[in-house]
């Protein structure tokens, strides 16, 4: 703990009290997903341990986003099971389980444009987690500090740059204090010069015991923070491993091809 920077102590309260790393937080069992005739996920099996940082990469249309969206039932699998924290996710208990365990950060930020940044952050804690206004605002400022945007608390999201909006969206996800945060291509809609500010926040987050599943095309980020990388193509997981293995000697030709194109 002594090597933590001052700013990192913010996170300690977040992680205290959670079980130690290693328990299975997310489990996908033979998950298939069809959009009409299109077979988007083909018998996907995947486990994510508590505190693990899993990065999913792969070409566009490979089913990465769909896989992540199945983890909180934004997409319902056509067949197969999804378990969150040991409990099977069904359409009936979705709202409850999602509330308690997962948050999501979207490619398009999806902040609520009719509310100030502060309201965006306090809405769920107040209405869903029954926190008082004071508690919710303290929480909101706490996470605004972490993403470095405290001074934007009272502005409307549309007046912010994409990078700032995404940092606010991450703060909003953190305010739910869930064990899992899912990131669906969080930097893909950003201008190149604002990508890094978002990645920096995520890199800092990754030092904590939060379970992170990140769909991204940012290979530098994947290499730096991933405990494990999963490569998807045509709706299947075709290779997985630690970043070291993944970037230095991938086995699958498809992966080699992809990495050859993306890393110059």
């Amino acid at each position: 703990m002594s090597e933590l920077r001052g700013s990192d102590t913010f996170f300690l309260s977040y992680t205290l009290g959670y079980a130690k790393r290693g328990e299975i937080m997310i489990k996908m069992q033979n998950v298939n997903k069809f959009f009409g005739d299109l077979h988007v996920l083909k018998d996907v099996n995947l486990e994510v341990a508590e505190g693990e940082k899993l990065v999913i990469i792969g070409p566009s249309g490979s089913g990465k986003s769909t896989a992540v969206r199945c983890m909180n039932f934004l997409e319902m699998p056509t067949s197969g099971n999804v378990f969150i924290n040991g409990e099977e996710l069904t359409s009936k208990n979705k709202t409850k389980l999602v509330r308690e365990t997962t948050s999501m950060v979207f490619q398009q930020f999806n902040l609520y444009p009719h509310m100030t940044v502060l309201k965006n952050l306090t809405l769920a804690p107040m209405k869903l987690h029954h926190k008082s206004k004071k508690e919710a605002e303290e929480l909101a400022y706490h996470y605004l500090d972490i993403v470095g945007l405290r001074e934007k608390a009272h502005v409307y999201p549309t007046t912010l740059s994409g990078g700032q909006q995404q940092r606010i969206a991450i703060a909003r996800a953190l305010c739910a204090q869930t064990k899992i945060i899912l990131f669906d291509e969080p930097t893909s809609a950003l201008d190149p010069e604002t990508i890094q500010e978002v990645l920096d926040v995520m890199i800092r987050l990754a030092k904590e015991n939060i379970t992170m599943v990140v769909v991204t095309h940012e290979m530098g980020f994947a290499r730096q923070v991933a405990d494990r990388i999963v490569f998807m193509a045509d709706g299947q997981i075709i290779e997985e491993g630690v970043p070291e293995h993944f970037f230095t000697n991938p086995e699958n030709d498809r992966v080699k091809q992809f990495l050859g194109k993306i890393i110059r």
């Binding site: 948050s103 769920a124 740059s161 909003r172």
Partner: protein
């Protein structure tokens, strides 16, 4: 003595002014109750149309299409005479309120559907991913955003509803048009056609014009604000404003 410029005709209208005011009162009262019914139906069927549940969408669609593609007068007569012959007449006023409510409910449903449909999918997903249930999601996140889109066309529908009370004439309602007609054809009051219809029209205009003006002002300011937001976003993304 019947002409537009006949003093006696105008005097007659003035003497019986309470008839016109009663007509206006009846029309407004019926319009108000019909409006409440149409709003309730519009919200229910509008929400059904955007629920993503196939059977609810079909029910909503059938209601909207059947009502919008048959004349109001037919619906009015159908309800009035069908009920009258089955021996359970609800009376002219209640029948009028129900028919007008159902008729405009179909249009309100379309307005609500369009308003909700204009909200980006990401807003629904963000709300769901935070764990809001359907009611919470609509109440806190979706409807506050769609209300601005919904209100101007809704006010236009209110104007139409007020004007459509004139259809009650066909079943002999006590609305403004019916009373005007009784007035101009009455044994003692008859004759003053032109002034009577002019006054009747003026009363409709006095009620409807402010409403439709409000609706168009509202709509324009909404468009302006959208433009402003779009410009602000563009300016920021072009990096002209740097923080």
């Amino acid at each position: 003595m019947d002409g537009l410029f006949s003093i006696t005709a105008w005097e007659k209208v003035w003497t019986y002014r309470s008839t016109f005011l009663l007509g206006l009162y009846n029309t407004s009262r019926m319009a108000l109750f019909a409006l409440i019914l149409s709003l309730v139906l519009g919200i229910i069927f509008g929400l059904m149309a955007t629920s993503g549940k196939k059977y609810l969408e079909v029910i909503s669609r059938v209601y909207v299409e059947v009502i919008q593609n048959t004349p109001l007068i037919l619906q009015l007569c159908f309800l009035y005479y069908a009920l009258a012959f089955s021996g359970k007449s609800l009376g002219i006023v209640v029948t009028g309120i129900i028919s007008l409510g159902i008729y405009h409910g179909a249009y309100m449903a379309e307005v609500v559907r369009a308003g909700i449909g204009a909200i980006p999918k990401g807003q629904f997903e963000a709300a769901e991913s935070q764990g809001f249930n359907y009611v919470e999601k609509m109440y806190f996140i979706i409807l506050p955003q769609s209300i601005k889109i919904i209100l101007p066309p809704m006010v236009n529908q209110i104007v139409n509803l007020i004007k459509n009370t004139s259809c009650l004439y066909i079943i002999g309602g006590a609305d403004l048009i019916s009373l005007t007609y009784s007035f101009v054809t009455g044994a003692t009051t008859g004759g003053a056609y032109a002034p009577a219809y002019l006054v009747s029209g003026l009363l409709f205009f006095i009620v409807c014009f402010p409403l439709s003006t409000l609706a168009s002002i509202w709509e324009n300011s909404l468009k302006k604000r959208e433009l402003k937001t779009a410009e602000a976003v563009k300016t920021i993304s072009e990096g002209v404003v740097t923080k």
